[in-house]
Amino acid sequence: MPLLEVSDLRTSFHSRGGVFRAVDGVSFTLERGETLGLVGESGSGKSVTCASLLRLLPSPPARIEGAYARFDGLDLLRATDAELRSVRGKRIGMIFQDPMTSLNPYMRISEQLIEPLLIHEKISRRDALARALAMLEAVGINDAARRLHSYAHEFSGGMRQRVMIAMALIARPELLIADEPTTALDVTVQAQILELIKKLQRELGMAVIFISHDLGVVSGLCDRVLVMYAGRIVESATVDTLFRSPRHPYTRALQRSIPALQAKGAELYTLPGLPPDLSQPISGCAFAERCEFAVEACRAGGSPALAECALSHAHACRRAHAGEI
């Protein structure tokens, strides 16, 4: 049984302006110990997908519908608040994108670190503090004993992000959801954090969902990648397959627009237009307006379904499935 099984997740935001379909039918599974990358542009629904799983979105305006999201047998979409609390911070840890706003400025780091332990485990304050210290050392904070009782503002950006990681991992979760954990950091610090996640993952055997818009970061860390566009998964493949033989035109376009792979001076491929407005109904394929291969048939009917084209490689392009691209 997979650790996490999500089926037809749909999250929309309801406001006076209308209904905004941020996530529109997302299904995937995650095995124990696996690292799954979730990539796409801003607004593609990556973060909302993960926030929906932990039911972190205020409702209203958010409304989560869907078949189910089973985490080790427990349907997260229908769990009671008490059941959810027993999972959040204990069995599922989360690292948020912005460490500046996700740490409590009024609480000492030590208090924030031991909070999940005191809530979820029968543990004395002293033992919890010892674990907090060990965790800070594990995430590479120098002079951790002295730093333990500092406040968030006394840390640099990279160190705050490491504190966030320590908080997410201190209860030894089975699943870590990392939402762009390195986007705000320098490449040198990013390299440290990625090495750290890999190392802790080996030691704890945890599964990771890694949200990123940086294909380079994903390629070095993930086993499997889901590409999202306009609230839907458009391609799903192992990391090697995705980079060697992407099938969906959107995945191809993303790869062609990365400067690293282009010769100096060559013009970068650019996607024309903008992502669709998700508060409007979309007929046919949501990417058709920007797709160089789109034909009239692409704009008709419902959204193209995600279907396998090879073993553990699926995409949602009708023309690629028909062998026309």
């Binding site: 040198t188 390299a191 440290q192 390629s219 070095g220 090697d240 627009s257 990365i258 400067p259 970068l268």
Partner: protein
């Protein structure tokens, strides 16, 4: 020039030739900030050496990439070039004029314009795009009132903003389009040099590609020179002719983009380059990554000797005491005492 011209005339010609090759020059620029304590009786307790002796020359039509970690002083350097921060030492020369001299006028600075990182913050929300583009033309009296609309339309066309959008306000545009508008505004005064501080960092990959293509096109078509600041090395390599790597307010390596990024020599540049994740899973697994320990030291309290020595795998005793100067090595300039002895 007639052959019988006096010697002096020839020297002047040579000098003007050399000057025409270099459009912007930084001579040993320092930007230090005092750190004070106390309210009434301020006492100076330290100095943040954000830019600590930088010399650079930018040629006409050249794109110079400036890279380094946050806090290395690249944005402070950009602001010092622009005159937004006063240089505490050294001088900035634009087309042979000293911009840091007291006599330097706004007129002299017109040829130097800046594009900022965040197009959400750098445009006035209460001015329509047309008004935002017309404003610098009016202030500097570059056009007669009657000719302004035509020039505004021309600027919009240059950056790919449709003329029918000129009546719209910044909030009606996406991030990529706002950055185009900010670039058009910088171009309004017909600058010869543009300083762009992380112009694509706030944008998505696909939008980033559009702005990079636009900058490359403007450099080519308008003969602009560009100081391009970014922390993303693959972006810098794509756009730049030369690259300068900064660490704690100093340049540690300077050379062609190809040399510096594909065959880095300074230990810091090597670590920086090896930390960039590549979108190639097989290559990533095969790669040996140099992971630097710790954060960059604070510019308030920089280490003695080579500023990089506490994080450097090759540091020896001499590195702790002697400050290395930027010196030629393998076709570029490197400031490392041990540069000749490092493994290839």
């Amino acid at each position: 020039m007639p052959a019988a011209a006096p010697m002096r005339g020839r020297f002047d010609l040579l000098r003007s030739f050399a000057m025409s090759a270099t459009i912007l020059e930084l001579r040993d620029v320092y930007t230090h900030f005092p750190v004070e304590r106390g309210i009434l009786f301020k006492k100076r307790i330290g100095t943040v050496k954000a830019v600590d002796g930088v010399s650079l020359a930018l040629a006409r039509g050249e794109v110079l990439g400036l890279v380094g970690e946050s806090g290395c002083g690249k944005s402070t350097l950009a602001r010092t070039i622009m005159g937004l921060l006063p240089a505490t030492g050294g001088s900035v020369w634009l087309e042979g004029k000293n911009l840091t001299a007291a006599a330097a006028t706004g007129e002299a600075r017109r040829a130097l314009q800046m594009v900022f990182q965040d197009p959400f913050a750098s445009l006035n929300p209460r001015l329509s795009v047309g008004e935002a583009l017309a404003e610098p033309l009016r202030v500097h009296r570059l056009r007669l009132a009657a000719d302004i609309p035509a020039r505004v339309a021309e600027l919009a066309a240059l950056v790919g903003i449709p003329a029918r959008s000129l009546g719209k306000y910044p909030h009606e545009f996406s991030g990529g389009q706002r950055q185009r508008i900010a670039i058009a505004r910088a171009l309004a005064l017909e600058p010869r040099v543009i300083v762009a501080d992380e112009p694509v960092s706030a944008l998505d990959v696909s939008i980033q590609a559009q702005i990079l293509n636009l900058l490359a096109k403007l450099v080519r078509d308008l003969g602009l020179s560009l100081v391009f600041i970014a922390h993303d090395l693959s972006v810098v390599k794509h756009l730049s002719d030369r690259v300068a790597v900064m660490y704690l307010g100093r340049i540690v390596e300077l050379g062609t983009a190809c040399d510096v990024i594909e065959r880095p020599q300074h230990p810091y540049t090597r670590a920086l380059v090896s930390a960039v994740p590549l979108p190639d899973p097989e290559g990533e697994r095969a790669r040996r990554r140099i992971v630097l320990a710790g954060d960059p030291p604070s510019p308030l309290n920089p280490p003695a000797g080579c500023p990089f020595h506490p994080r450097c795998a090759y540091a020896v005793q001499a590195c702790r005491t002697k400050v290395p100067a930027l010196a030629p090595f393998l076709g570029r300039e490197v400031s490392c005492l041990r540069v000749g002895e490092l493994p290839a």
